[in-house]
């Protein structure tokens, strides 16, 4: 019952959808990496006015489902801010924000592993706290946590079908559209699964190489 003709017919559509997915993950991950770092630094601030709201925000985002955040951003927050609603942009924003709360934890573990003596040496050399982060702490904290960050890259990739809920036509949505038009679901959905597998495995390989490179750099 598997038809190679159907498979060949649907593949270009799926690849176009995959490209949307990959772009969403790329920008989403970039945002998650940057924002996560901001959260973890803010949470460590000695100023409570900075640390407390950051902690609250992270807890809030981590304790609510991504799907709800997507709807909320798409229908209320962005329109409320006067931003013209773009499903793709909303998706990137939601993915980035949601996963930044997980990357923040990863960064925290990395920063915690840097010995206190490093902070003290930097203070004795009169570096500010931000200079200490940038030149002393983060270069030591980040390489060991690259694998953990990479896991969230793959996790994010696997969450992207949720974006179809706010009308982003990513790969799964393409497959479902094709299915409802042609009454054929087997080939599109199977191929979606295979393409996900392919991308996840290559991403995992990429992370492993990055990890090996970081280890060498730090040796």
């Amino acid at each position: 019952m598997w038809s190679w003709d159907v498979a060949a017919d649907v593949l270009p559509l799926l690849l176009r959808g995959l490209w949307v997915t990959v772009q969403a993950v790329f920008w989403g991950m970039l945002l998650a990496l940057a924002l996560g770092l901001v959260w973890s630094v803010l949470r460590r601030s000695r100023r409570r006015v900075l640390a407390a709201p950051a902690s609250a925000a992270v807890e809030f985002v981590r304790s609510t489902p991504l799907l709800v955040q997507l709807y909320f951003l798409y229908y209320f927050v962005l329109p409320g801010c006067g931003v013209p609603p773009s499903a793709f942009l909303t998706g990137v924003l939601a993915l980035g924000m949601h996963f930044s709360c997980y990357t923040a934890e990863v960064y925290r573990a990395g920063i915690d592993a840097v010995p206190r003596g490093q902070w003290e040496a930097a203070a004795a050399l009169n570096l500010t706290r931000l200079q200490t982060y940038r030149h002393v702490v983060l270069p030591q904290a980040i390489p060991p946590v690259i694998p953990a960050l990479g896991n969230y890259l793959i996790a994010m990739f696997k969450e992207t079908p949720l974006l179809s809920a706010i009308t982003v036509v990513e790969i799964l949505q393409r497959a479902l559209n094709y299915g409802s038009e042609h009454f054929r679901y087997l080939e599109p959905l199977t191929m979606v699964g295979l393409l996900y597998l392919l991308v996840s495995l290559s991403a995992a390989a990429l992370v492993r190489r990055l990890e090996a490179w970081a280890r060498l750099e730090n040796a």
Binding site: P115, G117, Q118, E120, A121, A123, A124, L125, N126, L127, T128, Q131, H135, V136, P139, Q140, N218, A219
Partner: protein, 263 residues
């Protein structure tokens, strides 16, 4: 208290008045008063827990005192004058005063992701804004002084303990502080490697006008280079004086016991 600070004789580079510090209910410093003259080499001795490391850490601003005042080169560490009143110091003020101090730690605390050269040039470039060329020239000068000019491209992990500590000394000196704080810098070293670090300190003590405050267990070395020895006991300065006097004829039983215990 401000008056007693102003009246202190001479022109000390570091003045400490009424310094108190507790950790978790344990009083580590219980009222320290001391003056350190410009260029003076002072050995701070005492049993473990007497507060000697804490005193250095307070001077370096790694800890904040519970009470009391520290003045470096005429400026208070944690307060500043504004409109004729003492107000809590802002970040800028603390950093300016802190810039007059440098510290070397027992466990080196070199930056493992940087080469020896980068360890020594980092702070002058980042904090003082020196160009790469200026900072490198300065680093070579200090690394030359500690005898490690040939190790510039090495990472700290490949150095011996003694070499690490010499790099740490060069790193602190490259910021050209007026006061150098040495916190048991030979205690973590293989006995065979202590000599090379002490040699560097000796050169520094004889050559420079930098004020040196050393927390040490090496009484022989204290006797050799210190102008003054300060004995700390249970968070207070119990006794101080020239090394010869203090070591030969301590006035207090506690000092005598301590000196006997470490021989």
């Amino acid at each position: 208290m401000t008056d007693s600070l102003r009246r202190a004789d001479g022109n000390p580079i570091v003045r400490v008045r009424g310094l108190y510090k507790s950790f978790g209910g344990v009083e580590v410093l219980r009222g320290i008063d001391a003056d350190f003259r410009r260029g003076e080499k002072v050995a701070i001795i005492g049993s473990s827990g007497s507060g000697k490391s804490t005193l250095l850490r307070l001077l370096m601003t790694l800890e904040r005192p519970d009470a009391g005042a520290i003045e470096v080169d005429g400026e208070r560490l944690w307060t500043m004058r504004r409109k004729g009143r003492e107000v809590p110091a802002n970040e800028q003020h603390v950093r300016r005063v802190r810039g007059k101090l440098g510290m070397v730690f027992q466990h080196f605390n070199l930056f493992p992701h940087m080469t020896v050269l980068e360890n020594v040039t980092a702070a002058p470039r980042i904090v003082l804004g020196l160009s790469a060329a200026e900072a490198t020239a300065r680093a070579h000068r200090w690394l030359g002084l500690v005898g490690l000019d040939d190790k510039v491209d090495t990472h700290p992990a490949r150095l011996s303990g003694g070499q690490k500590q010499r790099v740490a000394i060069a790193r602190a000196l490259a910021m050209e502080p007026k006061v150098m704080l040495f916190d048991e810098i030979t205690s973590g070293l293989d006995p065979l490697l202590v000599g090379e670090v002490l040699n560097v300190l000796r050169d520094l003590a004889h050559g420079g006008d930098v004020t040196m405050l050393l927390v040490t267990h090496r009484m022989d070395f204290a006797r050799e280079i210190a102008d003054r020895v300060v004995f700390l006991d249970a968070g207070r300065i119990l006794e101080q004086g020239e090394p010869e006097d203090l070591f030969r004829s301590p006035r207090h039983d506690r000092t005598r016991q301590f000196l006997a215990s470490i021989r």
